[in-house]
């Protein structure tokens, strides 16, 4: 249900894995990709560092909490690490549930928690040089909604 990988992933294949059950009526997916602009600067590339071992543990805790809050059939989280470029996929969260409201809530919850609790860090390459990306208050606010 969790993959941390340097390779790209296929949204098509991920869909198929989510579609298995005839009792699911709703599938919600989120795909995050590298944008070519951030804070007004052109982004040439992105390096994603992570804390091996803790990453998997943190993601599993987030998924467990989502499954405790909502009735979900399948949850799939993929996060890429290493070097990426604009347009590349970074993250995928897919949720299958019997009901649409639950699928939407769980998918957004997982992303909000991933953004504030999973040990990944982005370093951007810009014309001004490389820089570590700062956390956003809006991400913390999004995560705090679920408390």
């Amino acid at each position: 249900m969790i993959a941390i990988q340097t390779e790209d992933f296929s949204p098509a294949q991920e869909y198929e894995r989510l579609e298995g059950s005839k009792s699911s009526g709703a599938i919600v997916t989120f795909t995050g990709t590298v944008r070519d602009m951030n804070l007004g600067d052109k982004v040439g590339g992105l390096f994603l560092e992570h804390y091996t071992g803790m990453t998997e543990k943190a993601l599993q805790e987030i998924i467990d909490e989502a499954m405790a809050r909502w009735e979900l059939q399948t949850v799939r989280v993929i996060h890429r690490i290493g070097q990426m470029y604009p347009g590349d996929r970074i993250v995928f969260v897919g949720v299958a549930s019997a009901h649409r409201k639950e699928a939407f809530a769980a998918c957004e919850f997982i992303m909000d928690y991933l953004k504030t609790r999973a040990p990944f860090w982005k370093k951007e390459t810009t014309p001004e040089g490389d820089r570590w990306v700062d956390e956003r208050e809006s991400d913390q606010a999004a995560a705090d909604r679920w408390l």
Binding site: Y51, H79, A118, P119, W132, V133, E135
Partner: protein, 83 residues
Amino acid sequence: MIKVRFFASFREKLNCEQLTLQEGEYAPLLSALKSQLADQGEGWREVMMSERTLVAINQTMTRQDVTLRSGDEVAFFPPVTGG
């Protein structure tokens, strides 16, 4: 013995990825370990005293002060920015 790890901008700022401290080389309370590390220099002080700094003990984030046990892995890192 405990392992102390640093990630992302902290790793670069301190120019240190990992420290191993033997029994007797570290204060047993997390808060005391932080003070001890803060004394290693200006960058160390900044990292250890910042309110933004996150701490994980054995790969689980904590905001409380705890007593460290031999074998523990203590990690210091800036706010996460994945996704």
